[in-house]
């Protein structure tokens, strides 16, 4: 099995109001192809920061992220963008569809970015598989929250990424809609064979993954494969 994501001694310090604030402390973990993993922890514990670093959106203060074989800290912003385009999918809590694009156009953006001119058919298929075959021409403002997040899911999978990051994908949705999104997420993930990193508050959702990394105050307090018994360090 190949290592898709390798996080080594990752630290991040922000300077806020002149004072250094250590948000992540020496985080390390590896994920193999097809792994699923949940990052949980209280608000402010550094989950989003970790996700951003792992996905190559930001640079760490110390440590290294190796994403699909690329040591991200050695790449400049444009090179990281290329890696993201090729290997990474992303789902946000607040959907983040581009308001001026139709559902179909939103889905094809990552494909068009890599110069793939005939992504439309795949995008239509993907929209069909999230149940939005008849909404391709609609703009985000004409879609409900759940529908928008389904478009976002289709967008995340259009480039057949090696790894998908999702930051609280159900955080802005009601329980039923959220549940439906989660089912779709896992279905797509399974059929595409994508590695999945999920940030969530929802322990039920976390339990669907193969591994739970628990953060507190920027440090890993628990890293537990769900098949093995808990190796708790702290409650």
């Amino acid at each position: 099995m190949s290592t898709v994501l390798s996080v080594r001694g990752l630290s991040k310090t922000f300077t806020s109001a002149g004072r250094p604030l250590e948000v992540l402390k020496e985080i390390s973990f590896d994920l193999q192809a097809r792994d699923t993993c949940a990052i949980v922890g209280p608000s402010g514990s550094g989950k989003t920061t970790l996700l951003g670093l792992a996905a190559g959106l930001d640079r760490p203060t110390a440590g290294e992220v190796v994403l699909c074989g690329h040591a991200m800290s050695r790449l400049d912003e444009n090179q990281r963008a290329a890696v993201r385009n090729r290997d990474v999918g992303f789902v946000f809590q607040s959907f983040r569809l581009i308001p001026t694009l139709t559902a179909l156009e939103n889905v094809t953006v990552p494909a068009e970015l890599r110069g793939d001119q005939d992504a439309s058919r795949r995008a239509v298929d993907l929209l069909g598989s999230v149940g939005l075959a008849d909404r391709t021409g609609h703009y985000p403002a004409q879609l409900s929250g759940g529908e928008q997040q389904r478009v976002a899911l289709a967008r995340a999978f259009i480039n057949r990424p090696s790894i998908l990051f999702a930051d609280e994908p159900t955080g802005n949705l009601d329980a039923d809609t959220g549940g439906h999104i989660v089912d779709l997420l896992f279905d797509l993930n399974r059929s595409a064979g994508t590695t999945l990193v999920l940030v969530t508050h929802d322990l039920e959702l976390a339990a669907k993954t193969g591994r739970i990394i628990r953060l507190r105050g920027g440090a890993v307090v628990e890293d537990r494969p769900l098949t093995a018994p808990a190796v708790g360090v702290d409650g």
Binding site: L51, L57, D58, N78, N85, S94, I98, T100, G115
Partner: protein
């Protein structure tokens, strides 16, 4: 994993370009109307540039194609004295067709109404003009009038005195029947008639007494050569001899060049005024894009997350700006061509030629090019921030944009390219490079000053805004400081136009007041001149009989400089190292008296009242500025040619003269006891309490002494007013472009902050604000904005006007409160109107619906 994905091959490059174009188009959805308004702000500037430059090119070709009608002949000669015999001999050998004309100032009398008026009389012979023609009303009069011994008069006289065809006009002792009204004549534009209306009469039978008796005249001979002679060659050989005989000459080529220069200076200057509008418009586009791009930060961040590189992402918005610039410039060019059709009417009075309308594609292309260039350059400034948008923004919307580096080389280079581009356009448009540089510098200075004043006012409003009292007022004022507000930009863009118009008003009021003051108080307001020595007593008694006082009788002796500081004037003029020698060549009108007048002040030496009877050298007094021009000081010697008699003098005093008083000031004043016996004439100053008394006195004097001329202060004021309002009209017209641009920029700014305003409104309504309150807050905001903008412009206008009054016009500043209030009211109401119109739909619709409808 494979190697780094790179975008190297050109098919890839084409794909990226295609993607950028596609995204630029898609991203503009929902904003296109708004962008249309942004674009409008530069339409006006481009329109002004295209209209003026295209018209200018029409003008140039009109001057070129009608060059001969500018002179009306192939060659002209002119002198202020009858031609000397030597010149007459040359004229005789030149042959061809010849036509003489003698022009002079004289009072003309209209016996039917009894009116008199100082006029420019042109006594003509048949022939001239051979090229072009005199146009008259009725048209037939132009051909027959000379043969019938009639007269043609300027329209000004028709308007002023109700002169009609068939009336008689008296010039000197002879009467002529008015046969027509002058509409257009070669060699002169209608504006000339403001100073002194023209009366054309036949040269044959002219009352020559008028010429013999001191009035200044211009003697001209016009030539037509049907043998296709090389006139320039004639001028080359004859020129130096003519110059030596003080005879001027003009060829078709020369008059074409003169008019070309004068007219291109005029339209280029107007173009510069139009350029302000373009700059303002670009600032407006830039500021709108600044706000627009802030609303696109989410989109940019998402694109970055999914792998868009910063270059192509920024390119999306550069393409949009370019498209906006191109659309704006093209629409502007179209509007400019429409405008171009109206320009000839605007300046017809000062044009010597008929301008045929045609589109000058070069001017159109330049206008479009400049418009697009300036728009894109100004848009680049806010667009650069796209580079710094981190993909992190997509997962954490509170992420602050990457802190701006202290020195950003890209930003700095864009800024310098902007500066160079503005400078280049200014230099290109200006009559000369130096003028262009000075103009660009002045423009930068005014912009900075306005920006400074705007900053100060905004600060003051924030600092001293009421902290208690009506909530709507406080909220309305606070809105001026909302995040991403464009308050200062708006104050600048609305302020520039206000500044231009305000400055024109203040200057006009100041100058008019100055002229009015000069004719006011108990000073003279009626001047009689060209009075011969034997007529002076007679004129005085006529005036007394009319009940008017004789305030002053000033003798005038005409003279020329023979030598200065021992060096002959001929010598000085031959010295090519000296630039301007006009002051040495001119004819001086000097007086003699034993005291200083109220308008003079001694600044050096002693004023000698009476010359010693046997003095070899006469001590005289020189005016300060002419002394500086001639390079003379106390103790320097000047030798005068007083109509054939040489009079050696020495400068014994220097005076400062207040030139605002009409006709009574002199460069050189002689003491009594020297010039009494020299040929001379007099000026008599009087004062009439009203126009009727003035008119009666003028008529009585002219009846007895036809060669005597009169000017009264009301006429001076009237002429001044007419000339000034004409200039002012043209500049106001140009300033109007800036004002309009300011208003369009305002509309764009309101539209670009629409989402923000909707959110505010929804929040206020949710918190329980009534529709009325929300509306009142909006009114307070726009009224405050209008007041701030208008104060910015007017503060600077009054300040500049004050400096001009102090240092240039040397007179107290005059402010017409009414005009300024009108400007304030006009601007504030328009700002309120435009603000309200562009906010349509924000304040009335229910909160929820509004939120859903907007993207």
């Amino acid at each position: 994993m494979s190697g780094m994905p790179r975008e190297s091959g050109s098919p890839r490059g084409i794909a990226v370009t295609a993607w950028v174009l596609r995204m630029a188009w898609r991203d503009s959805r929902g904003s296109r109307r708004r962008m249309g308004v942004y674009v409008l702000s530069m339409v006006i500037g481009v329109a002004a540039l295209v209209a003026i430059n295209s018209f200018g090119s029409n003008l140039e070709s009109a001057v070129d194609s009608q060059a001969r009608t500018l002179l009306g002949a192939d060659l002209s000669m002119e002198s202020s004295r009858p031609f000397p015999d030597s010149v007459e001999a040359w004229i005789g050998t030149l042959g061809g067709e010849q036509s003489r004309r003698t022009s002079f100032s004289s009072m003309v009398v209209f016996p039917r109404t009894g009116d008199t008026r100082l006029a420019t009389v042109r006594a003509m012979e048949p022939g001239f003009p051979w090229y072009g023609s005199i146009e008259t009303d009725p048209p037939g009069a132009a051909t027959g009038w000379l043969g019938h011994g009639g007269a043609l008069v300027d329209r000004t006289l028709v308007q002023q005195f109700g002169v009609e065809v068939g009336d008689s006009v008296r010039v000197g002792t002879r009467a002529y029947a008015v046969q027509g009204v002058l509409v257009k004549t070669p060699r002169e534009s209608a504006a000339v008639s403001l100073f002194s209306p023209r009366v054309y009469i036949p040269l044959a039978g002219l009352d020559t007494l008028l010429l013999d008796r001191g009035s200044r005249a211009e003697y001209e001979t016009y030539f037509r050569f049907e043998d296709g002679r090389d006139v320039e060659a004639i001028v080359d050989t004859l020129g130096p001899k003519l110059r030596a005989a003080r005879v001027g000459f003009d060829t078709v080529e020369e008059s074409r060049e003169n008019w070309d220069d004068a007219l291109s200076n005029l339209y280029r200057f107007l173009g510069l005024v139009g350029f302000i509008a373009l700059l303002l418009g670009s600032l407006g586009v830039s500021s709108a894009i600044h706000v627009y791009i802030r609303q696109r930060l989410d989109t940019v961040a998402v694109l970055r997350v999914f792998g868009a590189r910063s270059g192509p992402t920024m390119a999306i918005y550069v393409v949009q700006s370019f498209a906006m610039g191109a659309v704006g410039a093209l629409v502007g060019a179209g509007a400019g061509i429409l405008l171009q059709m109206t320009l000839p009417r605007l300046v017809a009075d000062v044009l010597p030629v008929d301008v045929a309308f045609s589109i000058a594609w070069g001017a159109v292309a330049t206008g479009v090019g400049v418009g697009v260039l300036v728009t894109v350059l100004f848009a680049l400034l806010p667009l650069l921030s796209v580079r710094n948008v981190s993909p992190l923004h997509a997962i954490r919307s509170t992420v602050e944009p990457a802190s701006r580096r202290a020195f950003d080389p890209v930003r700095a280079s864009v800024l310098s390219v902007v500066a160079v581009a503005v400078l280049l356009v200014a230099v290109m448009q200006a009559p000369s490079a130096a003028f262009g540089l000075a103009y660009a510098a002045a423009l930068a200075f005014v912009f900075l000053l306005l920006a400074g004043v705007a900053r100060l006012l905004v600060w003051a409003v924030r600092r001293y805004a009421p902290s208690s009292g009506s909530y709507t007022v406080r909220q309305g004022l606070a809105n001026l400081h909302r995040p991403n507000n464009q308050t200062r930009l708006l104050m600048l863009s609305l302020g520039i136009g206000t500044f231009l118009i305000g400055l024109m008003s203040v200057t006009e009021a100041t100058l008019l007041r100055q002229v009015a003051v000069a004719g006011d108080e108990s000073r003279a307001n009626l001047v009689f001149f060209d009075i011969q020595r034997d007529q002076a007593d007679g004129v005085e008694s006529v005036l007394r009989a009319e009940g008017l006082p004789v305030l002053e009788r000033v003798p005038i002796v005409t003279m020329r400089l023979a030598s200065v500081k021992g060096r002959s004037v001929a010598d000085i003029r031959a010295d090519s190292s000296r630039g301007e020698t006009w002051q040495f060549r001119r004819e001086y009108r000097s007086t003699y008296r034993d005291s200083l007048t109220a308008s003079e002040r001694l600044v050096a030496g002693t004023f000698v009242r009476t010359a010693e009877p046997d003095a070899a050298v006469v001590p005289i007094s020189a005016e300060r500025d002419i002394a500086a021009d001639l390079g003379i000081g106390l103790g320097d010697t000047l030798s005068w040619d007083v109509q054939g008699v040489e009079v050696p003098t020495v400068v014994s005093s220097i005076r400062e003269v207040d030139w605002r008083r009409v006709q009574t000031n002199f460069f050189f004043v002689f003491p009594k006891g020297v010039l009494e016996s020299a040929p001379q004439f007099s000026v008599i100053l009087s004062r009439a309490e009203d126009e009727a008394a003035s008119a009666a006195a003028q008529q009585a004097v002219v009846r007895g002494f036809p060669n005597v001329s009169a000017i009264d202060a009301s006429l001076v004021l009237q002429v001044f007013d007419a000339i000034f309002s004409r200039i002012e009209f043209v500049i106001r017209f140009m300033a109007l472009f800036s004002v309009l641009t300011g208003f369009v920029v305002l509309a764009g700014a309101v539209l670009s902050s629409r989402t923000q305003r909707i959110e505010e409104t929804v929040l206020l309504k949710t918190l329980g604000a009534s529709e009325g309150q929300v509306l009142r807050i909006m009114i307070v905001e726009y009224v405050a904005l209008g007041l701030l903008a208008v104060s910015t412009g007017l503060l600077l206008a009054v300040g500049t006007g004050w400096l001009l009054a102090l240092f240039v016009y040397d007179t107290p500043l005059a402010i017409e409160a009414w005009t300024l209030s009108a400007i304030v009211g006009g601007v504030v109401l328009t700002v309120l109107f435009i603000g309200a119109a562009s906010s349509r739909g924000i304040y009335r619709r229910p909160a929820l619906e509004v939120l859903r409808a907007e993207t």
